[in-house]
Amino acid sequence: MKSGERLALAVILGLVLLVGGSTGAAAYAWHRAGTVRIAVHDAQPDGSDFTMSLPGILLNTAIAICPMPNDPELNARLHEAAPALREVTSRLSTLPDVVFLDVKNDQGTIRVEKQGADLLIRVVSPQERVEIAVPIESVRKLMRKLEV
């Protein structure tokens, strides 16, 4: 093999490794960030269903780049509460799947639970059913942002 061919092969292999590694890292980050899911089911006869699933990595990016609100009072409150909330979200990730809050009455049901890597909020009433699933990792990133 000539030296030029060896150089070309090395460049190609390097590119393959670079693209493959980047793709693998992106896929891992995508998978790790989870999915934000919002589902609304209107139980009325002419009701509609709405479901939205967003890759968590988009939410994480939005959290990273969005500016903090310019309200000194609000910022002070957030700054005060953020360390405790961040600690709570950190601990959440180590807990088993569990229902934290379950409220039921004539008007419906509210449930907050940890399911896998997600924090799941369900609100069910005779008129509609709302489910919101947020990756705990995204909540943690939000708390870190608020703390800063």
Partner: protein, 187 residues
Amino acid sequence: MRKLLGALVLASVTGSASAAASDDRWIHLRVDDAGGENGRVDIQVPVGLVSTLLPALKGKHGHGAIHVDGNEVDMAEIRGYWNAVRSAKDGQYVTVRDDDSDVRISKSGGFLRVTVDDRDGGSRVRMKMPISLVDAVLAGGDTLDVDAVGAALAKIPTGEILTVDDEDSHVRVWIDGEAAPAREDRP
């Protein structure tokens, strides 16, 4: 009824505080409607998880007095009563019998026990609180000493803390070693 509400307020203060130990046990609150309406509230949180939130309460909710049935109760007065009970031997210290209810407050085996029974059979309160925890809750002058409460909770044994049964609802607060499964699979 005022005594019942007083007992409930004390229980709620100490009950919220009982979530402050730094361990993996769980504190559970369960409220069931007794009126056949099938309403219920289930809350369960790791004790250690809530203990991380307690510092955030510092300086916010630690001041002031407790309001019982629309009347303000002086915390210094409560501390005075408590100090008297705490330094005495085990036994039954308060027995109040009136037209509405029987109230008994006793101390035994390291626990403060409060029993309230309505005369008409409507309400029934059973509260069993570790003395170290009551000490911590009442030790902070005009403020709630969150750190002391957290330290006291690290030693609180598992078991029932509060049960209240009346014509409207059943309330139960307890600590145990694991989370309870949901009472319904899916809402």
